[in-house]
Amino acid sequence: MKTERKGQHLVIGKRIPRVDASEKARGEARFVDDITIPGMLYGATLKSPYAHARILSIDTNKAEKLPGVKAVITGKDMIDSKRCIFSEIVPVWEDKLPLEIEKVRFIGDEVAAVAAVDLKTAERALELIDVKYEVFPPVLDPEKSMEANSPKIHDKDSNISIEIHYDFGDVEGGFGQADYTFEDSFRTSHQAHCCMETHGCIAEWGDDGRLTIWATTQRASSYQRELAKVLGIPYSDVRVMKTSVGGSFGSRMSLHTVEPICAYLAKKAGLPVKLVYNRDEEFVSSRTRHPAIIEIKTGVKNDGIIIAREAKVILDNGAYNDLGPKVLHEVATLLCSYYKVKNVRVNGYLVYTNKPYGGAFRGFGNPEVAFAVESQMDIIANKINIDPVELRLKNASDPGDVTACGWEITSCGLKECIEKAAAAIGWEKKRRRANNHGVGIAACIHWGGGLRVGESDFCIAVVEVNNAGQAYVFTGEKEVGGGSDTIITQIVAEELGISPKVVRLMPLDTDVTPSFLFAGSPTTFVAGGAAKAAASDAKRQILEAAAGMKAINIKELDILDGYIYDIRSHMKLLPVSEAAHFSYEIMGIPIIGKGCFNQGPTQYDMETGRGQLSPTYSFAAQAVEVTVVPENGVVEVLEFACAHDCGMGINPTMAEGQIEGGLAQGIGYALTEGLAFNNDGKALNSSFTDYRIPRAKDMPKKINSIIVETKDSKGPFGAKALGETSMVPTAPAIANAIEDAVGVRIKELPITPEKVVKAFYLDS
């Protein structure tokens, strides 16, 4: 048995199975639709069939009279009808009511809801609700929507929700010194999250006026606060309970209409209500990724050094803001932070259209940015005759760099990622090969710690060690599939020096588990940081008890494999359980460790875009080999090499899982995905048959995942964010590989076979 740590990790870096894998394999994990509450009713919502209309009247009489219907609500029933879904950051961005009262702004916008004894009755009741609309022409094109004479979607003078203008360095001077100037325009698509579980909520009011919800949430504490605000009750009266969640990818990061509607139905009916979207509803009524138009002008010197950049971004907001304003800010600061270039200007516009609205989606604006920046890098490389890998290495950030807008880069493995991805794909051998084969590469920067969506990046954890030496962890983080439960378990086990098998994460319940005001890929950073601090505190208490028992200075003690040992003599002294027992029963002091991770007030100014967005940054490069059949435009992805600087792989199996999963979404984003709309604003492909996400046969047979460990000083055990970066460089890498294979440059996603054929035969 080991008797000293010698700086080696016991659990961190190990491939332990997920703590929730067994219950999921058995089908025993409880998702929202698996839960039944006695007396529960079933809810359904009525959606607008028009993309742009004024609501003249809603008659719910017939619906209310249908046998089995227990509650019918419209927007007017919801308390103080002005309470918007909390957009989190800035009150003026709030523009969405749970049920609209005056206007509907996209097909799928909800206007009424019913709760009944079963779903079929609820759906029949929806058909009996008579809504009279005054229909307006829908505005579907963001560029047309920006025009002064376009129909206005909100009660504002312009359909531009927000605009930003960032200017750093000397852009004119930079272009003046450039030997080449490149101007290219790129378009990205309306990607849908396609979580396998649809949005759902169960709401139950107690006699004490408190609300309990089980919902597909990504952030329990924030939902608690946001929902309370919309309902007009104190947040301590909202209790959010644990559920397994069938994926999120950002779609469950902010409150949706589902939760307040369900809560209101339950209040009116006086019974619990379950409201679950069906798949059609999930496609159109839940949020999406923002389509982007990015015009990017880049000035380059003869040797390939990028000297200036100017970008214009139009983000298609859809009908409402949600987190759109924040996404636009991230897009803009990202455009300022790719590579060393100091002279950057970004003009960005978030524009309303009468389509499903955008929100958070894995990458939060970075996949859009990367497609533009990294596609153009290869256009540059080809023109000035520098190898694309070389060009990136020449311009790549280094540790200690500060980007144009003020991101202070600490650990940085970007160059290593680029080199490793290129080597792993066989760059030298496969580049410019004949027979319609090609390789491409793309790189990215991304926030590695918290992102401060809202007041965020604040987490509390509590670790209790009982007198059997078992640790109970109370944290507000919410597992949605990415594996955060397991990461937290590993971090606590490592810090305490005990086996992960005796570390138990307490099921989330906001009445019991403490606050966590953020979730998304930096969960490891924020929640892991808090858990590590709490475990450290608990460890100190255990060692204090042991020091007292053995009359040894606490500085001479450590814990390994569940035993307290003397560092000097390497002697095993006593098990953790004995020290804990002594503390509880003899000293009367329970072992309860407290930890807090607080990133502190933001140093980033949203107005100018200047400042440190995140305490640390992650980097990645992905290289891909494809073959293209010009005659039918079919692109086959053969192999991917993904090198990710995530600081440290706390659980390599799960890290690979994040890379492989993100890659699949990136491949879909690149080649097949995007909601399409007809002239009335109706989604034409709102089903899995027509909206094509990658299936098992569509994935490359070889995915080489390379974790580059730069061991950042700020993250727990050196870790930085990983979950989002895995789909950032994917689409441009594929676009670049297609160019290498058949010489066509596609600047619009998705890169469908039609586009490839057209480009190959008509444009080249």
Binding site: R18, D20, G27, S244, G246, R279, T653, G661, S687
Partner: protein, 155 residues
């Protein structure tokens, strides 16, 4: 038509159930809502995602597209039926060990498809595995570790 009822005898996971059903109920409805076996999931309710996959007489079928009345006299196996005396089936064990599970929503359907595949083809190639699970959508894993897990369970 949809108010008509039938009484069915169906064998689910080795247990005979006699239940009254409406003729327009699907097998998925009955498994989840009448029998309380919520391991089988509803991802789309129109046969496009595979989350509802169960085995009927050993063959993988989409229970959301199957009328329950057609299950009369058939042997149905759901994810809950894989446990033997609380011991995991080798496929379940392999999924856990190989990191083939993330959110877990597609997992029951995926495992049932895998079982059907391995029962009929005990030594599949990678291409055969991918074809065997091509009807099961997963948005989390990229399928890589699922394929590895099925390959490992086949050995």
């Amino acid at each position: 038509m949809h108010n008509f009822k039938s009484v069915l005898d169906i064998n689910v996971n080795g247990t005979m159930h006699t239940i009254e059903v409406k003729n327009n109920w699907t097998l998925l409805n009955v498994i989840r809502d009448e029998l309380g076996l919520t391991g089988t999931k509803c991802g789309c309710n129109k046969g496009e995602c595979g989350a509802c996959t169960v085995l009927v007489n050993g063959k993988p079928i989409l229970s959301c597209l199957t009328l329950v009345v057609s299950a009369q006299g058939q042997e149905i196996l759901t994810i809950e039926g894989l446990l033997k005396d609380r011991k995991l089936h080798p496929i379940q064990q392999s999924f856990i060990e190989r990191g083939a599970i993330q959110c877990g929503f597609c997992t029951p359907g995926m495992i049932m498809s895998a079982k059907a595949l391995l029962d009929s083809n005990p030594r599949p190639s990678e291409a055969e595995i991918r074809a065997g699970i091509n009807g099961n959508l997963c948005r989390c894993t990229g399928y890589a570790k699922i394929v590895e897990a099925i390959m490992a369970a086949a050995k």
